[in-house]
Structures are given as structure tokens and as C-alpha cells.
């Protein structure tokens, strides 16, 4: 009996080990069962990430995510050389707890030039969060779970050989296609995704 229980416990532990990574709410956009999945590893202080967010991810969300073709997952990958990137990621992950990840991400990228110069992220977010939400976000900044979420994203990125931002990993039918660094031309990316979806 003891052996059976021990086996069941071991099986449960090994099953938990292969369950996909836990994700903060709002970091996955679209339908999880969409045929294509795109993991985006990004740094809020990286200028190419800002351009990629505004020029590539925005139309991608409208044309593919909204239509159920792509499931887009954001991952934080703050680079060492960006002094405030980790702090910005903490704000975004804390905002995810009040279901405002997308709004805060958009604002962080939009005002990247401002807070990157002085590290004043808090005041930037007052424009997109209600006072009670901002208060909650501030209180969550020191929550070890928030920092653990960021570390988990970084670890996942390293495991998937991410070294530059932005990096997109397109997954389709069990195969992965990395698109590394810089701002992917949306026209070519669209052709690539359509080509994959037609197979």
C-alpha cells in the first residue's frame, strides 16, 4: 500500500514538473488553443522592443490574435545593461495582478524615453491606473511572487537560448521558429505566419 502511495506521489510530482510554466494573468493574449503560439521575450527599456511592440505586435494582435489564429505570450527578459528594466517589469507584473498588464505595458513602452532617463516609473502609471489600482500595484512591488515571476521568465528565456531582445519564438505543430532581435518587418512576418498556417 505504501509503495502504491509512494508511486502515486511520484507520478503527481513528475506530472507537475511537465505542466507548462505558470503565467501571470494578462501575459497571455488570445485563445490558448490557437494553432500558432508566439512567445515574446522583451525588455521594457529596450528601444527595439518598443518599436517591435508598436510596429509589429500591435497589428499582429488585431489581425491574428483577435481572430484566434495566434496565442501571444509576453515574457519579461530585462537585460543587465538597462538600469530600470527589472523595475519596469515588476510594475507590469504587479499590474497583471489587477488585470492591467496590457495597459501598463503599452504606457511603459509609450513613455520609455521619459522613465528610462530618470527611473520615475510610478508617476507615469498614474495616467493608466486608478488610484486604488496604483496603490495595489505599489504594494505588490515587494511581493516575492512578482519577482519570482520575472525570474521564471528569465530562466525560461535562457533555457530557450534567448540572449537578445526582442526575441519571438513561433511555435507551430511542435516545431519552434526563433525570430531574434530587432523589429521584424510586419509584412514578412505576416507572410511567414500565413505560410505556416497554410501547411
Amino acid at each position: 500500500m505504501k509503495n502504491i502511495l509512494a508511486s502515486l506521489l511520484l507520478a503527481a510530482i513528475s506530472m507537475a514538473a511537465v505542466v507548462p510554466e505558470a503565467m501571470a494573468p494578462g501575459k497571455g493574449v488570445g485563445v490558448a488553443s490557437a494553432p500558432l503560439k508566439i512567445d515574446v521575450f522583451s525588455d521594457f527599456q529596450c528601444p527595439s522592443c518598443k518599436a517591435s511592440y508598436e510596429e509589429t505586435l500591435r497589428p499582429l494582435k488585431n489581425e491574428y490574435v483577435a481572430k484566434g489564429k495566434v496565442y501571444l505570450v509576453h515574457h519579461d527578459f530585462p537585460l543587465q545593461q538597462h538600469a530600470y528594466a527589472r523595475q519596469a517589469a515588476a510594475y507590469a507584473n504587479a499590474a497583471a495582478r489587477v488585470n492591467k498588464y496590457e495597459e501598463v505595458s503599452r504606457e511603459l513602452f509609450r513613455q520609455q524615453g521619459v522613465w528610462s532617463a530618470n527611473g520615475q516609473i510610478d508617476s507615469i502609471l498614474a495616467g493608466v491606473l486608478k488610484p486604488d489600482e496604483l496603490k495595489k500595484v505599489r504594494s505588490l512591488l515587494t511581493d516575492p511572487k512578482i519577482l519570482a515571476d520575472i525570474e521564471q521568465d528569465i530562466a525560461l528565456g535562457k533555457k530557450r537560448n534567448v540572449s537578445q531582445t526582442p526575441t519571438m519564438i513561433v511555435s507551430y505543430k511542435g516545431r519552434e521558429y526563433p525570430v531574434v532581435g530587432n523589429v521584424p518587418d510586419y509584412g514578412i512576418l505576416r507572410k511567414f505566419l500565413d505560410d505556416l498556417l497554410s501547411k
Binding site: 537578445q164 521558429y177 526563433p178 525570430v179 531574434v180 532581435g181 530587432n182 518587418d185 514578412i188 511567414f192
Partner: protein, 139 residues
Amino acid sequence: MRRLRLALRLVLAAVFIYAAYTKLRQPWLLFALSIDSYQLLPQWAVLTVARTLPWLELLLGLLLVSGFGLRYVALVTSAQLVIFLAVMLRAYARGLGIDCGCFGAGEALTYKTLIRDGLLTAGAIVLTVSAFQSQRSSS
């Protein structure tokens, strides 16, 4: 000198055939995204290069193995590697954190890539000069 030429031919051939293989086994549009990240060419040129370059690499690799028309094949190989190196140096100097695109997608462009491409370029130039010298001395 003949042994050096043979060694350079075979090394360059192996690299070119492997580079072609890695690109041809992936969707060609993924390679197009790598080329586009260098921010050098308009979209139509990016798509044309993505379609044709792996086949050119395969052709050069096979010609290097065969030794047929070595002087001209080595010259074209050198020219291609010089262009690759110049483009990579430009991207690296501009701080573009991009995909090298050398052996399929997923390899970040780093100083190691530049060293590797620099050595290959040097080897191709030595092969070219040697092939022309050999032709001159035998005529």
C-alpha cells in the same frame, strides 16, 4: 601548397553546404526575417535573397568539392564572404542585437560570429590567391 588548397576547399565546401542545408530545411520566410533584421534591403530584395542565397551556397559548396573552375569559384566565394563580413560588422557596430542568419535562424550575431566569418574570409582569400598563382606557374 596543394595540400593547403585542398584543405581550404574542403573546409569551405563543408561550411557552405552545411549553411545551405540549415537554411533549406527551415521555412525560407524565416531566413527572410533574419536578412531583414540587418536593415539593409527593401522587402522585395530581402525576399529575393532569401529565396536564392541558400541555393547559391549549395552550388558553391559542391563546386568547391569538385574543384571545377576553382579560381572563379574561390573568387565568388571570397566576394560573398567579404560581403557577409562587411554586413555583419556594420550591424555589430550599430549595436543591432540580431539573428546572424548564418546557419538557419536562432543564432545571435556576436563577436564570435565575426571571428568565425573573418577566418573563413581569410581562408577563401588565401585559396583564391593560391588558385590564381598555381594557374600562372603552370602556364
